[in-house]
């Protein structure tokens, strides 16, 4: 009876204890990732976790919540308590999945903390393709009947689909002229390209890296305002065709909405230190990921701008519901 009483008392105490935010963090932090262990997003998350651990003095555990094209993991990041002990590495899908009608969830359900990386899309074709420039390719697509050209690299209505649709849209070509073949990801899409099943893979350059270096695939253009550090020989889309269309997959740390300001500021400054650390910069350049930092509110604005642009493109091609 005495034991029971003491248990009850301690439970009651634990329940009423108010988290002393000044001491944040006083227990381990969970970092959700919506993609599987071993992938690119997972690797970035683990690197950030190690850095944050050093900065905050508490263990940061990466937890993979995969599935549903990212919906499951992104929902978990939004639904946790906004106490700073649950963070998430959000990805481009935040700006896409609500347009597809998969979820109500959009960027507004998060407290933006820091953008850590963007990977602009490239326009990859097979090395023996007859098209030498993106201009030739766009012209050929425009002049051919619909369905002549096929592209792949991600699922229906996901990042790289929007990348190529937006590029065509901006060039004044009907986006449905290129048939989109849904695939699990860039790796299986690139294999289809080699096998001759498709003509274009508009994935990031990092994903195509091994095959570009092996001389099996060439990249015709880079959908960014500046050239890639990884492949500086690849021209930007603007240089080649004058188009203003830009598309990049991004990754950034978010917390659930309603995070206290002091916790947010602590995390933003810790993330900035992590971003500037040699470990992080070295890893990103070695892997070929594009490092880009935007703190708190600016990251929020970045997501808002992307959301509008992607939404317009997806409506134009009939993907948005």
């Amino acid at each position: 009876m005495k034991l029971l009483k003491s248990i009850l008392v301690s439970v009651a105490l634990a329940g009423t204890a108010v988290p002393a935010l000044a001491d944040y963090p006083e227990r381990p932090i969970t970092l959700y990732v919506a993609w599987g262990a071993g992938g690119g997003t997972d690797a970035v998350a683990r690197l950030i976790a190690v850095g944050l651990e050093k900065e905050l003095g508490q263990p940061v555990n990466v937890v993979n919540r995969t599935g549903g094209s990212g919906v499951v993991g992104h929902a978990a990041m939004a639904e946790a308590d906004p106490d700073g002990y649950t963070l998430g590495l959000a990805t481009t899908e935040v700006n896409l999945m609500h347009w597809l009608g998969l979820t109500e969830l959009d960027y507004n359900v998060y407290t933006p903390l820091a953008l850590m990386n963007t990977d602009p899309a490239g326009v990859q074709v097979s090395a023996d393709s007859e098209y030498k420039t993106v201009g030739d390719l766009l012209k050929a697509i425009n002049d051919s009947p619909a369905g002549t050209f096929k592209a792949t690299g991600s699922g229906q209505g996901s990042s790289w689909h929007v990348a190529i649709a937006g590029m065509l849209n901006a060039a004044g070509t009907d986006a449905s002229k290129v048939t989109w073949v849904p695939s699990d990801g860039a790796a299986s899409g690139l294999q289809e390209l080699l096998a001759g099943g498709v003509d274009i893979v508009p994935s990031s350059l990092v994903e195509a890296r091994a095959l570009i270096e092996a001389g099996r695939v060439k990249s015709l253009a880079y959908m960014s305002s500046e050239r890639s550090q990884l492949f500086p020989d690849v021209p930007t889309l603007k240089e080649e065709s004058g188009s203003d269309w830009e598309f990049g997959a991004w990754r950034g740390i978010v917390a659930p909405k309603g995070l206290p300001d002091d916790v947010r500021d602590r995390l933003v400054s810790a993330l900035e230190t992590v971003y500037n650390s040699e470990d992080f910069q070295g890893f990103m350049s070695k892997q070929g990921f594009g490092a880009r930092f935007l703190p708190g509110e600016e990251f929020g604005k970045f997501m808002a701008t992307n959301d509008v642009n992607f939404g317009e493109t997806m409506k134009a091609i009939g993907l948005a519901k």
Partner: protein
Amino acid sequence: MDAIAQAFGLVTTWDVIFSVLLASIFGLFVGAIPGLTATMATAMLVPLTFFMEPVAAVGAMVACSAMAIFAGDIPGALLRIPGTPASAAYVEDTYRLTQKGKAELGLGACVLFSALGGLFGTLVLIFAAPSLAEFAIKFSSPEYFWIALLGLTCAVFMGASNPARGLLSLFIGLTVASVGLNNPAGIPRLTFGSTEMLAGIDFIPVMIGIFAISEVLRTVMAGTGATEGAPRAVGNIFRDWGWMLKNYWAQSLRGNVTGTAIGILPGAGADVAAYVSYAVSRRFSKTPEKYGEGHVEGVIEAAAANNASLSSAWVPALVFGIPGDTITAIVIGVLYVKGMNPGPTLFMFNPQTIYAVFLIFILANLIMVPLGWGLIKLSKNILRVPKQVLMPLILIFCIVGAFASNNAVYGVTIMLVFGIVGYLMEENGIPIAPCVLGIVIGPILEKNLISTLIKSQGNLLDFVNRPVAFGIFVLFCLIWVAIIWSWIRPREREEAAWVPEEPKP
């Protein structure tokens, strides 16, 4: 030659040997715990590899995955719970052997032919990697479509005596596979508005539920009698090696070849290799009726195949950076971190590192024999534990494994539901294997069917107008002709002998 000498130097350092040894033991234990897959074992190693040198890191993953695939055979044989999906194909046989008091025969076959299969796959990896990958890389969606259909065909005629029940089981599996968002059109199916179910039914908890929880349920229903049927000890596993090698060398070799071929295909891994080669073995056996009743022939071929595929899955991974299975998918991530970017340039600029990895492959498959023997000696203790103690322990392991698959209680729910499904299926004489295979291959089939249709704009001729696709299509037709022939011909004889199956008590 210089590179090979350097490679020896890279491998024969204390930290490499030590990491390989520790990773092997880790892989053996994870593989032996029901429900924890070789992929999971490899994934759990990833954070540790960040602190290792490149060769030690990759070597640890090689050793860990090879050991886990082999160790999955042990709980399969002793408890009828395959440790990894790759062992599920022949779990009936090894378990029946154990029940007959011949555990050492089944497990001896697993150790020997796993190691031989791994060595064979490694040799192929070393000598034929570039040109073989060159062939497999030409596979597009029509080729995969036919391979998947071939796999499903195998699934049904693997489902023992009654094709109708096999089909029923397959359809249960295909229905489970269609849940969620991961279909080509990205349309949520059968999700009932649940966010969790958008992710679909995760395969790992299904496996744990359908194989392990159903066993726990069966034990509960049967009451906690004495641990009858369990042998007191596993005998000398080396005893039967001589005659197995003499009588079944052809099956072993065929398993090696099948496994290696399937491993090289991007996306098809050890589990598909085991299922396909078990079915092939049964098809060509002189005594197909013994399969599933405790016959070592199919075990030899499938155990050889799953370890061979594990090694050969590295071919497309190393040469093109395209994973051959889920394990190499994880390994590719680590290769990049370690600056060993996969691609043909790896063979040009860093041949010594590649050769070092190959040497570790050989090393891992050699130490599999003594370490495997040790684990089998230890694991026989599992059988001495009364079921009242063992079953709750299994339940705990299962819950941990199901939770760990996606760090969510959802996994535990799936596991429990499929425990009941598996129990009901077994009680009604519906085979489990076609269902499991349907869950794995169904999405592959659908994806490649839709991809091919989208690309050809509905022209069915595109399914067969590529030479390799046509070749597999012909093979597929031949197998169906053989199946239909076998139905028509011995019908009179079978009908006379056919007795309705009694539900198990």
